[in-house]
């Protein structure tokens, strides 16, 4: 039975099933199975008692021990190494310590979804941290439970009352009915909660009420699970009675004199391990299998002993968790919960928390360190301090990772590489810091100049990256093995931080010759002396607070939990524990005695419970702290506001100020317009619908009616969420279902992403079919059919009205039109008619029928108002009368003015207006699927126009400079452009800035040495500063930093968005894999995360699609346009080469002279590199000059 966990898939139908308590000892086949597939250490979230446990001794006041009845199911929060688990008994809701050796993992396949849902349910409702009251609004958590029950019934062929299974077995029928009635009851309670939430606007709900309701819901959810368990039990019994297996008898008989109780553990550990008593639930469970087999009937003995010997040679223990794993250090395994269900104070000790906290600290130190490196200079002492802080923090992070490695050997292997990488990086940082300090001390200056910082910067960013990877892997491991408690004394991992500080002093005298040879004095900082931590040579692990196994507490189970345990058994128990205790004392003798007293107190003090649930009877919700209450309360309130305004308040994503949501609400309200008078739609259908219909029913019918409600067909299990609750993947039906939920407004971000990107993952025809399918199958659940069908209609309507692209979508009409006429028309005649009209309209109309506020998302009227009050007076233009007349004269055929005739600010403004006009007309569709890169027939006209204008502007810059023979005049023009660029940056016009800088910095212009000599140093400095802004280095780090959280009006450089979009597409696969069930591979679903990323980038661009409030000077616009046209036509193609040739003509190559750019990049590396290459350059240029015909002129 203990091996059941490894054969999840076959569990429910297996004739000797794991659920019947007391568990039947391991079937041999299963053991073989287990052998086939190397098990992984798994933290079991649910345990089931297979043996009663009723402690008779006095319970210490600090701990609560749970009495267990056979068959009780426990939700496990953590497992102590001593074998005690902190768990909540589902039957009573009581929380306390219980002996895991009386329990087995409970995870039958058909219950899996329900159990998973319960976990989410618990995490969500129990966490005092739930500030996102949207959770309560949309009832998402309810769907999981409902889907779980449905899954259970489906799996057991009992989905309908009429099924043969249900009909034939009375017990089954009764259990099924009870299960459903409990479910119905929970739904009602949830509805009440929703009402509190919704009502919070007008009337403040009593926090106590809310909490009472939540508590009630948890108990009800527990009850449902218990019902489910019983249902499954009955089912198993039924199956067994129909297919009797002789082994059943045997095992039962065996069970009589060999109850698999605690001894199993201790014996097995005694024998096979270094007497390490520490073990977690998994190993216990597994070892129990071998142990009980040993003492079991002969046939079993044979099988399992063969098995166990086999495994012990192949892999140490059948169990995955090898016997030799250093469990001493691990004290408690915790369930890693998605939300914070454990009080903060207690969480601190969880390794996952530690990991996060130390990672955060490390990053913040590194962050400020890196930030400081960008400064011009800093003193060695400052540098030293920040390096030391960073390294200390990094070391702490490593300690945590080490602890995890020590906790589980498999993880250690998995983490080895990234841990070492991080270790290397930190060392690297130390070494670089030392090098710099050394060098600065040699030169006897206390200042570290930025040039030297390159290596340090590299090392620091390396640290950031390595830490990120390492932490990601580590989290992965924690998720697998379970969270555990951990107390770290920070301890050196061989990185001697202090010595960095010492080095400069040491160094001054002895070594200045080389950076590589190191005097022995500083050996401790030398990288060689810091090998990546090998398990063997690794410094002793940080002392963790170890629960003392020899503590009186857990020994309880030894005092034979129930009288019918045979003598054989009882003698095993004490022996095992004794010996383990001895081992333990021997091993940790040094620390033990001294710390014993303190440790004792640290022992399993019952975790402070978030849940006031003690037992179902005496639990009183008012025990909740008021802080907790108010937290809930406030979150409810804010949530309800967001919901009632249905997204227009756009609280969702700062980057995605999304009018899609308001569109949505428009769409749904529009459904109420007269043409739909037949139907009275609810814009916010909710669970209250259920109660309305439900209350009309007679009591007798209620449960039956509830049945159909409860068991709605759903694809919810085919959705993937991330930890923030956003959807990251799903099958098309699941996504469509999400789009058309009956009880909540779909998430605005989700909806807009879906509309924007669906063509990337589904054909319009298939989408239409999926929507129709949704419309059809919801008929199985009449109680929600109304709202769902209305939403289906609304999705169609939104698509046709605002997101239709006839070119690609036209074929979908062949699905939509029949649907509108027949299916929809029958149910909602008005809607059917309207949809049909729309379908006819879209083909004849160009562009969206209901325009999305220009190009939508970024520009709700509110957001514009926020940044640019409409009554702001337009700034006066800098155009003098004479300038205007010059332009008029030009228009009449007079001489062409030059840029020098106009004020740089005014030119910058007009350029900005010109570019912004195009930028604002970019439609989101243009940014999808690399549309703008298509060679022919690209629909991304505005994106293309942006790049064309940008290139034209660059060419114009070059053209205006190169038009003069006189170097002095060229210099004047260059200066003018620098000023214009500077004004662009003042206007936050990064796009024009980029174009101008690119040109000024092009080889064509840069090489004009005589010209640049006449540009003042001040202007060159200004240019250098501007250039640094658009430096593509480090993925445009400077530019991105500036644009992050930038307030409009602003014209960002479009190129970075285009590159980001391209790489989101290239770097993320189209599909994701759902977590597999049992052995089977998970199914592949649409990687919605990829599309969300795409939509976010587009949203970020749209955020800036707000026009400037600047006065357009018509004459000047005309002139600029004419100049661009002139430049374009004068050099139809090959602009660059043409300009280069002209540049060569103006200032022929100087042989022998190494050119240096007047405005070198700010990056120290590129500077040095260019200089290096220039050494080659001179020979090369000489050769080239001779061969190039143009240079002879």
């Amino acid at each position: 039975m203990s091996s059941k966990s490894s054969i999840r898939t076959g569990g429910s139908t297996n004739s000797h099933s794991q659920i019947t308590p007391p568990a039947t000892p391991n079937g041999s086949q299963e053991d073989l199975n287990q052998q086939m597939e190397p098990p992984h250490p798994v933290f079991h979230n649910f345990l089931r008692a297979f043996y009663p446990f009723h402690p008779t001794y006095a319970i210490s006041d600090s701990t609560v021990t749970l009495p267990l009845n056979e068959g009780d199911v426990i939700l496990v929060h953590s497992i102590h190494t001593n074998g005690w688990a902190d768990g909540t008994l589902l039957v009573s809701g009581a929380r306390g310590w219980l002996p895991t050796n009386y329990c087995e993992a409970y995870d039958p396949d058909s219950m899996r979804n329900l159990l998973k849902a319960l976990l989410n349910f618990w995490d969500l409702l129990r966490s005092g941290l739930t500030t996102d009251s949207e959770v309560f609004g949309n009832q998402e958590f309810m769907r999981g439970i409902i889907a779980g029950v449905r899954y259970l019934l489906e799996k057991s062929n009992c989905l309908t009352r009429e099924s043969a299974m249900v009909q034939s077995n009375d017990g089954l029928r009764r259990n099924r009915k009870a299960l459903l009635s409990d479910l119905s009851s929970l739904v009602k309670t949830a509805k009440r909660l929703q009402e509190y939430t919704a009502g919070a606007g007008q009337m403040v709900a009593d926090p106590d009420d809310v909490n009472n309701t939540i508590d009630e819901m948890i108990l009800k959810a527990f009850k449902i699970v218990i019902r489910g368990v019983r249902f499954l039990d009955v089912l198993e019994d039924d199956i067994r009675s129909h297919h009797p297996v002789h082994r059943v008898m045997a095992t039962v008989a065996e069970e009589v004199y060999n109850p698999p109780t605690p001894p199993a553990d201790s014996t097995s550990f005694d024998g096979s391990q270094h007497g390490d008593p520490a073990c977690d639930a998994i190993s216990r469970r597994s070892s129990r299998s071998s142990a009980s087999a040993v003492s079991g009937s002969q046939s079993f003995k044979r099988m399992s002993s063969a098995y166990s010997s086999n495994t012990s040679s192949a892999r140490p223990v059948s169990m995955t968790r090898p016997a030799s794993v250093h469990m001493k250090r691990q004290s408690v395994s915790h369930r890693l919960s998605l939300t914070a269900s454990i009080p903060a104070a207690q969480r601190q000790n969880l390794v996952s928390e530690r990991l996060n906290a130390s990672h955060d600290t490390f990053l913040s130190f590194l962050g400020s360190f890196i930030g400081r490196l960008h400064l011009q200079s800093q003193s060695a002492a400052e540098l030293l301090l920040s390096v030391r802080q960073s390294v200390t923090a990094g070391r702490e992070l490593l300690v945590v990772v080490e602890a995890i490695c020590a906790h589980d050997r498999q993880s250690a292997e998995a983490l080895e590489a990234s841990r070492n990488a991080m270790y290397d990086r930190i060392n690297k940082l130390v070494v670089s810091a030392r090098d710099i300090i050394k060098s600065s001390s040699i030169e006897d200056e206390d200042v570290v100049i930025p040039q030297q910082n390159g290596g340090l910067l590299m090392a620091a960013t390396g640290c950031v990256k390595a830490a990120g990877e390492c932490v990601a892997k580590t989290k992965f491991v924690i998720e697998r093995i379970g969270d555990f408690e951990f107390e770290a004394q920070s301890e050196g991992l061989g990185i001697d931080v202090a010595s960095i500080g010492a080095t400069p002093v040491n160094r001054e005298t002895p070594t200045e010759d080389s950076s590589l040879t190191k005097p022995s004095k500083e050996a401790e900082v030398e990288p060689a002396s810091l090998p990546p931590p090998e398990p063997a040579s690794r410094p002793p692990p940080p002392p963790l607070i170890i629960p003392s196994y020899e503590k009186p507490l857990p020994e309880v189970p030894l005092s034979s939990p129930s009288p019918n345990i045979g003598a054989t058994n009882s003698h095993l128990l004490p022996k095992g524990t004794e010996s383990t205790a001895q081992h333990e004392t021997a091993e940790s003798a040094t620390t033990d005695s001294s710390n014993e007293a303190s440790r004792r107190s640290l022992l399993p003090p019952l975790p402070k419970m978030t849940s006031p649930l003690l037992t179902s009877d005496d639990y009183s919700p008012s025990e909740n702290s008021s802080a907790h209450d108010s937290e809930f309360q406030s979150s409810f309130r804010s949530g309800s506001i967001a919901i009632s305004s249905s997204g227009t308040s756009s609280t969702y994503l700062s980057g995605m100020r999304d009018s899609e949501s308001s569109m949505l609400s428009q769409a749904s309200t529009r459904a109420t317009t007269p043409d739909l008078s037949v139907y009275v739609p609810r814009t916010q259908p909710s669970l209250s619908d259920l109660s309305v219909s439900g209350s009309q029913l007679t009591l007798a019918d209620e449960v039956d009616e509830g049945e159909s409600k409860m068991l709605e067909k759903t694809f919810a299990h085919e959705l993937l969420h991330n930890k923030e609750g956003q959807i990251t993947g799903g099958t098309l039906p699941a996504l469509v279902e999400r789009l058309t939920t009956h009880d909540s407004t779909p998430d605005a971000m989700f909806v807009s992403t879906f509309y924007l990107t669906f063509r990337l993952f589904v054909t319009p025809v298939d989408l239409a079919k999926a929507l129709v399918e949704r419309f059809d199958y919801v008929a199985e659940s009449p109680h929600i059919a109304g709202p769902v069908r209305l939403r289906v209609y609304n999705v169609f309507k939104g698509w046709l009205e605002s997101h239709w692209r006839d070119i690609s979508d036209h074929q979908a009409l062949s699905v939509i039109e029949p649907f509108a006429m027949e299916k929809l028309g029958k149910v909602l005649p008005g809607a059917g008619k309207r949809l049909l009209e729309l379908a006819q309209k879209v083909t004849s109309t160009d562009g969206p029928l209901v325009p999305r506020l220009v190009s939508s998302m970024g520009k709700t009227s509110t957001s514009i108002a926020q940044y640019i009050p409409a009554d702001t007076p337009l700034p006066p233009s800098y155009m003098s009368k004479s300038q205007i007349s010059v332009l008029r004269n030009w228009k009449m055929g007079g001489s062409n003015p030059t840029i020098l005739d106009f004020d740089p600010l005014e030119l910058a403004r007009q350029l900005t207006i010109k570019e912004m006009n195009i930028f604002c007309s970019i439609m989101p569709e243009e940014l999808l699927g690399s549309e703008w890169t298509k060679r022919s027939g690209s629909n991304a006209t505005n994106v293309r126009a942006m790049s064309t204008l940008s290139t034209d502007l660059s060419n114009l810059v070059a053209d205006t400079i190169l038009q003069y023979e006189d170097a002095k005049k060229r210099a004047v023009i260059i200066k003018h452009w620098i000023k214009i660029a500077h004004k662009c940056i003042e206007l936050n016009n990064y796009d024009s800035l980029m174009a101008i800088i690119c040109s000024l910095n092009s080889s064509t212009i840069v090489r004009l040495k005589r010209t640049w000599d006449m540009v003042s140093q001040r202007r060159k400095d200004m240019l250098r500063g501007l250039q640094a802004i658009v430096e593509p280095d480090k993925n445009y780090a400077v530019l991105r930093r500036r644009l992050h959280d930038h307030v409009p009006p602003c014209l960002p450089f479009v190129g970075t968005y285009l590159t980001d979009l391209t790489f989101v597409d290239a770097g993320n696969p189209a599909t994701k894999q759902l977590p597999g069930v049992g052995d089977s591979e998970g199914m592949h679903v649409i990687n919605f995360d990829k599309h969300t990323r795409t939509a976010k980038i587009i949203g970020e661009l749209q955020r800036f699609q707000i026009p400037y409030r600047l006065t357009e000077v018509h004459e000047l616009q005309e002139w600029i346009q004419a100049q661009i046209v002139r430049v374009k036509s004068s050099s139809e193609h090959e602009n660059v080469q043409q300009y280069y040739r002209k540049s060569l003509l103006l200032e022929p190559r100087e042989t022998m002279h190494a050119r240096t750019s007047p405005v070198e990049g700010s990056n120290p590396f590129s500077t040095t590199q260019n200089q290096k290459f220039d050494i080659f350059g001179w020979t090369h240029s000489r050769e080239k000059a001779q061969s190039a015909p143009t240079s002879t002129i």
Binding site: D435, E469, S930, S947, N955, D1033, T1062, N1068, N1163, S1166
Partner: protein
């Protein structure tokens, strides 16, 4: 002054990936840069294009500048090119025009760097689309030879074939070139032009021989992979 930083273990290499749109450059880069552990790739962060690799025992930090998506901003090319120490010129074996476009890019690089021997690797991507091939391997190889004996690789970003190899080859070239510059710089102190010229000549021969070897080995590799 920069000597001290250069001798420290890890070096930075600025690599620029160039090529026409739609040749799969971005896939190549994303494949190379991505860590298998990263569940989803976020190209908007600073480290998105950095990757450490080991080149013949040397620790190298590659910073890759990929112009994907901005091919039409032709005036910006020089900005990219300036920062590069080595260049991957990518075309698709299924598109003749994508190879043609490389010629212009190469000329521009050479002009900007003012150096015929800029480290360059020619990459024929989409080698998994053998049925759509329009540029034969020998054709591509002869083109690459005519371009200063630049190494030619065929890659499949989709199958992750030869992806690391192209970046490593480029790093090798940069390292080799760097070393020769160091030594030539020393010689410069004495007799400038002659010495330098001589050295450069030797250097060139060295490279082309080495490249020949690479080419042969690569061909063999190619056959097994493709």
């Amino acid at each position: 002054m920069s000597g001290r930083t250069r001798t420290s273990q890890r070096r930075d290499f600025n690599i620029v990936v160039l090529g026409a749109g739609g040749v799969g450059k971005s896939c190549l880069t994303a494949q190379f840069v991505q860590n298998v552990w990263i569940e989803s790739y976020d190209p908007t962060i600073e480290d998105s294009y950095r990757k450490p690799i080991d080149v013949d025992g040397r620790q190298c930090m590659l910073e890759i500048l990929d112009t994907a998506g901005t091919e039409q901003f032709t005036a910006m090319r020089e900005l990219y090119m300036k920062t590069g120490q080595g260049f991957l010129l990518v075309f698709s074996i299924t598109s003749q025009s994508s190879l043609n476009e490389l010629a212009e890019l190469r000329e521009q690089i050479i002009r900007i760097k003012d150096d015929d021997n800029v480290p360059i690797v020619i990459v024929g991507n989409k080698s998994d689309l053998e049925e759509g091939r329009v540029i034969s391997r020998s054709k591509a190889f002869s083109v690459s030879q005519s371009w200063g004996n630049a190494p030619y690789y065929e890659t499949s970003a989709r199958r992750r074939a030869n992806v690391d190899e192209v970046f490593i080859d480029l790093c090798r070239q940069i390292i080799r070139k760097d070393n020769s510059i160091h030594s030539s710089r020393e010689e410069e102190h004495f007799g400038r032009r002659e010495d330098h010229h001589r050295h450069r000549h030797g250097h060139h021969v060295h490279i082309s021989r080495k490249k020949g070897e690479n080419g042969q080995r690569r061909k063999r590799n190619g056959c097994t992979i493709l």
